[in-house]
């Protein structure tokens, strides 16, 4: 078996035992990237030289027995997490040459765990989109069918894991940007509870919704990555100050008697019948595992998407206002005065979808409209949280499809609203700040992967991982495409 076929858990075991040298593993992944990346186009920038150097150091460190939990494991980072001395572009022209003088906290944490950064992955510009088609640099292809999108916005990260270009990847999830591409690419994607992973150094899209999480081949691998990246960070005021116990503990626990609610709103108009069939089958699997699954309701579900686009756009317009051509990043060549500098720089530097959100955000925050939009959306946010709180008094987990359909053809969704509708099942979770995971539940008749979403109450990552892991065991192997 090729080393890039291994799960993260298997990889770590082989490295720790000395069976696999980090430098050999890194070379294998570099070769793999060279052979498949031409078809997938998942990466913005590769860091092979520094990766090999670090891997060689790890060869030695492993022998000393002092190596970190992810020693010598190559990984890929979504290109919106800052890397000191390495370009961090957010797949935007406006940050096309931006090199941060600091690391994101997750990057520091993974460095402490001795993981090896291989590359920065493509994404929708500033994480705005659901297909990675909004990248200013390149289109990424779905490893299951190159004519289809990988989902988004962490499409590069998901496609990279699905095409076995790294042992794991990090993505960020503002309204489904880890889970939906995971679902489209047949991998596991987890969005932790808001505040579990530090946002320091994650280039902000919508600060109150953004959360970093892993994309992996298995649920257990996600737990391993979470161990490395979770934790309070004094540099992020919104990070939760709690000690987290080992996320890999109790994965095998029996889920007999676990109560799972399935909100009927998740099975309304727009849900593809094959996706529904796959989720129904997954529900049966859970029942066979002894869980008590029953239909329930999330009454505010219908308002979530609107509230999400108001809140996220409002925050985005503010977060992105700093890209003005004055301090760093792209600056227009020709301008008349300072106002013209702003206009030309931003006109040339941002793509259409980003501009659309900036305009939407400015509109909902402008005086006279604030109460009708932003304030109302915040009220809806409170109601959605309450809805989930109510459900979690009765249920341990909520189960749903991750997305209404499988990955679509590139260029198929030209209407922004059609694209926004794809997020309908994932955004309520971000609005409520909850943890959720997407796990492949099966393939449709065209051979495209379908994702199952498990949602938990705040800080119930271990319950989600436990149920997800048991489901995965019962489901059996989920082969990724042979490329």
């Amino acid at each position: 078996m090729e080393s890039y076929e291994l799960t993260l858990k298997q990889t770590i075991k082989k490295i720790k035992s000395g069976e696999l040298l980090p430098s050999e593993l890194t070379k294998d992944y570099i070769e793999r990237i060279k052979s498949v990346e031409g078809d997938i186009d998942a990466l913005n920038e590769t860091e092979f030289d520094s990766a090999l150097k670090k891997a060689k150091d790890m060869d030695e460190k492993i022998k000393s027995g002092k190596a970190g939990a992810l020693a010598g494991v190559p990984y890929i980072l979504k290109d919106n997490m800052c890397t000191k001395g390495l370009k961090t572009t957010c797949s935007s022209r406006i940050l096309g040459d931006f090199v941060p003088p600091y690391n994101a906290t997750v990057v520091d944490k993974l460095a402490e765990a001795d993981a090896v950064l291989l590359a920065k992955a493509n994404m929708d510009e500033f994480a705005m989109g659901s297909s990675t088609e909004n990248s200013a640099f390149k289109k990424t292809n779905n490893p299951f069918d190159f004519s289809r999108v990988p989902g988004g916005s962490s499409g590069g990260s998901a496609a990279a894991v699905a095409s076995k270009q790294a042992a794991f990847a990090l993505g960020s999830d503002t309204g489904g940007s880890i889970r939906q591409p995971a679902s489209y690419c047949g991998v596991v994607g987890m969005k932790p509870t808001y505040g579990v992973v530090s946002r320091y150094g994650l280039v902000a899209f919508a600060s109150s919704l953004d959360q970093i999480g892993p994309l992996t081949k298995t649920v257990e691998d996600s737990a391993i990555v979470l161990n490395a990246i979770a934790g309070h960070d004094k540099k992020d005021s919104t990070s939760i100050s709690a000690e987290f116990s080992d996320f890999t503990e109790g994965l095998d626990k029996d889920i007999k008697g676990m109560k799972i609610g399935v909100p009927k709103e998740y099975f309304g108009v727009g849900l593809d019948s094959e996706v529904k069939a796959s989720i129904d089958k997954a529900i049966k699997t859970f029942e066979e595992l002894g869980a008590a699954v029953e239909e329930t309701s999330l009454p505010t579900f219908d308002y979530a998407l609107s509230a999400y686009y108001i809140i996220s756009s409002a925050e985005a317009t503010s977060n992105l206002s700093r890209y003005d051509g004055v301090k760093y990043g792209y600056r227009a060549d020709e301008f008349e005065d300072i106002v013209d500098l702003y206009k030309q720089t931003r006109t040339e530097g941002f793509g259409d979808e980003v501009k659309r959100r900036i305009m939407l955000g400015n509109y909902v925050l402008s005086s006279g409209y604030y109460d009708a939009y932003y304030l109302k959306a915040q009220k809806i946010r409170t109601l959605i949280k309450q809805d989930f709180d109510n459900l979690f008094e009765k249920y341990d987990l909520i189960l749903s499809p991750t997305a209404p359909s499988v990955a679509f053809k590139a260029g198929e969704k030209e209407d922004p609203m059609a694209m926004y509708m794809i997020d309908i099942y994932t955004v309520p979770i971000n609005i409520a700040g909850l943890p959720a995971i997407s796990i492949p539940s099966g393939l449709n008749t065209e051979g495209m992967p379908i994702g199952l979403q498990l949602i938990g109450k705040p800080l119930s990552e271990k319950t989600i991982l436990n149920a997800g892991h048991r489901f995965e065991q019962a489901r059996g192997d989920f082969p990724l495409p042979k490329l």
Partner: protein, 499 residues
Amino acid sequence: MQDIDLSRQGETFLCRSFSKGVKTMKYETVVGLEVHVELSTNTKIFCSCANEFGGEPNTHACPICTGMPGVLPVLNEKVVEYAAKAGLALNCEIANFSKMDRKGYYYPDLPKAYQISQFDLPICNNGYVMINTDGKEKKIRILRIHMEEDAGKLLHEGTLGSKVDYNRCGVPLIEIVTEPDLRSADEAKDFLDTLKAAMEYVGVSDCKMEEGSLRCDVNVSVRPLGSEKLGTRCEMKNVNSFSAAYKAIKYEAQRQIELLEDGEEIVQQTRRWDDEKGKTFAMRGKEEAHDYRYFPDPDLVPVVLTDEQIEGYRKSLPELASAKKGRYIEELGLSEYDAGVLTSSKYIADYFETALKEYDKPKKLANWVMGDLLRILKDEGILPENMQSNPKLMVEAMKLVDDGVVNVTVGKNVFEEAFRTNKKPEQIVEEKGLKQISDTGELEKMIKELIAENPKPAEDYRAGNKKALTFYVGQIMKATKGKANPKIVNEIIIKEIEG
């Protein structure tokens, strides 16, 4: 303590229209202030950069100061404490729950293109300050105090365009907003002086005017005297000193009155104060006013203060001006006027109290501080907050006088020199040979000779003109270069004349 020399004028303006034969109308000026005070915390409001004035451009600026992608602000707890203490000193209610908001606008000195400030839930509300203008006590209400970050500075250099210095980005500020309770430039000046003193007492700001630690926006409107309704106001920006505030209010009120008198309407505007020209210029009208698109900053958590914390801040407040003034009157037996002057600045009060520890004659000390120290500061153009001199120098000079080593006049000169040179008074007396002559034998000889040479004043004295003595005293002081003990000189002269 401000350098305002304009003569005080009444708070009402007579219109000039009686020349047109119309009934004379009196106007009242209404002023509201927004005062920005830089807090003197060690580090900035949202990062660990040193909160220091000056430095080479962009040497006190980190990725957080410069708004780089992905960085996050973390609120400095000291800023919350200082803001709350400032509020307590101004009799405010301190909020148990307040939050930080983003105020959005584009300007090159504002790296994030939003300023983190407080919008609808500021940390302090509903306070007041008592001012005393021309002997009249008046309460000026404080609407609110909020915390915010300062912006950088634009440096305009030659033809190559402007450059930005981000050192000041993230310097913690509080903005103190008054109700429109002030009725004249004089009241505004008194308010600002009182406010500055209060901030100095609490120790939350060094209030260095020349470093821009205290700046204000001034809102001015006028209305017919007796009218209840507020006139249309204009806000003046770029008012960078108290004297500028004073002049700007006078100018703007007069400008508005003249408009009204000419039958024109006041347009609500933001105007820029040009200190050199002494005029205000329109910047933007109501229609062009910025829409700041305020919303809660999602990167920061709400500021929660428990009643216990607030009580703790209250207990840790030092003795403030009004309490100190009362104590000076009660315990030290000073007059209300003297106590008021001494406590008008924390730095003067500190000086007085340090000296008092080693010189237990409050009234005498107060005279020296008020008469001599304040005069020297004024002559030298030194603000009390920048005064470096050790109060011990004054005490030593006073003791030299008490011990009869020098006379009062020489003593005061010695103090002044000690203040300027930082030399010990004793050393100055020694070096300059200023010890007063109390050797009666020598003085007797001099006086005898003087009277013999100039018998006329002695005759006048005997004839009942007691003042005639001053001639001899003056001559002796002159001859001894002021070193003679005037008391002894007097005694000897009388003895000699009366025989």
